[in-house]
Symmetry: C2
C-alpha cells in the first residue's frame, strides 16, 4: 500500500477534494495542516511554491485537480471509458471556472471594483452555471456523469463549503438536483465517516 | 475513424492546443472559426455557453484542457502510467495558472489596478514560473515529463503565441531549455506541417 501525506493550510479549501478521495479509497493518510505563519519557511520546499501538495511514497506533487484525478483513477472514480473521463474532466473544469469567478469577486481588494463585480456574478454568472449543472445532474440520475458516483461529484461537494463561505449564501438552495447530489455524496459511507471526524473549519 | 469538428473564435487562443493534438494524431478535422459578431446567436447552442467546443461523432463537449487530455490519450501523449499522467496534468495546470495570471493583468479594465498588477507579474510571478518550468525541462531531457513528448509540451508551445501577444515580450527568450522545448515541438513533423498551413493570426 502506498503511503500518502497531504500538506495544506488548516482549511477545507482546495485540499478537501483530495481528502474526500483518500477517504473514499479507505487509505490512511497523513493530513498535515500548516498555519499561515509557518508557510513562508515551508514554501521553498514545495513544487512551484504551492499547496496542496501530496506525497506518494515520498514523491511530492502539486496541483489539486491533477492530484484528485490521479486518486480517482486509483479508486475507480474516473469514468468507465475515455469519453466518460472527458465528461468528468469537463465538469470539474466547469466547477473550477465557477469557483474562480466567485473568488475573483471575493478576493478583490479594490472596494469599488468589487462592488461592480457583485451584480453580474450573483444575478447572471452563478445562476447560469448552477442551472446547467443542476440540469446535468437531473439527466444523469442524481450524479454529474454516467449515472454513478465520480470524482466530479466528490470535488463539487467537498468544495461547496468553501464556495458558500465566499458567497455567504447557500448557492444550491434553489436547485433540487444539486441538493440531491449533495445528499447522495454525503450518504456514501466513507464520506460520511470523514465528514464526521474531520477537523471543524468554516471553509 | 471518428469525425472531429472544432468550433472557436478565429484565433489560436485556447483552441490551439486542440488543433496541435488533432494535427499530431494525423486526423482530419473541421476547423470552424466563428467571428465575434456571430457568436451571440451561436452561444446558446454551446455547452455552458463556451468555446472551444469539440464535436466527436456529433457529441459536443467543452473545456479546452479536458478535450486536450482526451485527445492526448487517443494519440499516446498522456504518459506511460498514472504517475506520468499526473505529472503531465500538474504541468498543464501550472502553465494554465501562469496564463491566467497574465490574462488577469492583460484584461484588467481598471487602468490604475492594471498598473499595480504590472510589476509583481513581470518581476516576480512570470520569472518564478518560467525558472521552474525551464529547470523541469532540463531535468527531463528537453521535454516537460518523462524524457519524451507529451501533451504538456504541445499545450505550452501552442499557447505561447497567445501568451506573448498578452505580454508583448518573448517571455522564454532568457530560458534556454524552454527555447529548446519550443524547437523540439516545432520540429515534430505533423506540428511543422500544421504550423505551416494554419491560418495566420497574431494570437
Amino acid at each position: 500500500m502506498a503511503s500518502y501525506k497531504l500538506t495544506y493550510f488548516p482549511i477545507k479549501g482546495l485540499a478537501e477534494p483530495i481528502r474526500f478521495l483518500l477517504s473514499y479509497g479507505s487509505v490512511e493518510f497523513e493530513d498535515v495542516r500548516v498555519n499561515r505563519e509557518d508557510w513562508p519557511k515551508l514554501k521553498p520546499s514545495m513544487p512551484f511554491g504551492q499547496m496542496p501538495v501530496l506525497e506518494v511514497d515520498g514523491k511530492k506533487i502539486n496541483q489539486s485537480q491533477a492530484i484528485s484525478r490521479y486518486l480517482a483513477k486509483q479508486f475507480g472514480l474516473a469514468g468507465k471509458d475515455d469519453w466518460e473521463a472527458l465528461e468528468i474532466d469537463a465538469t470539474v473544469a466547469t466547477i473550477d471556472d465557477l469557483r474562480t469567478k466567485i473568488a475573483s469577486w471575493f478576493y478583490e481588494g479594490n472596494i469599488a471594483v468589487k462592488q461592480t463585480k457583485y451584480e453580474p456574478l450573483f444575478k447572471e454568472t452563478i445562476p447560469y452555471f448552477l442551472k446547467r449543472l443542476d440540469a446535468q445532474v437531473k439527466t444523469n440520475g442524481g450524479w454529474f456523469v454516467g449515472g454513478t458516483l465520480s470524482w466530479a461529484d466528490l470535488l463539487f461537494i467537498a468544495q461547496l463549503d468553501y464556495i458558500i463561505y465566499m458567497t455567504n449564501v447557500d448557492i444550491i438552495d434553489k436547485y433540487d438536483n444539486l441538493k440531491q447530489l449533495k445528499a447522495n455524496v454525503l450518504n456514501v459511507s466513507q464520506i460520511k465517516s470523514w465528514v464526521a471526524k474531520r477537523p471543524k473549519t468554516d471553509h
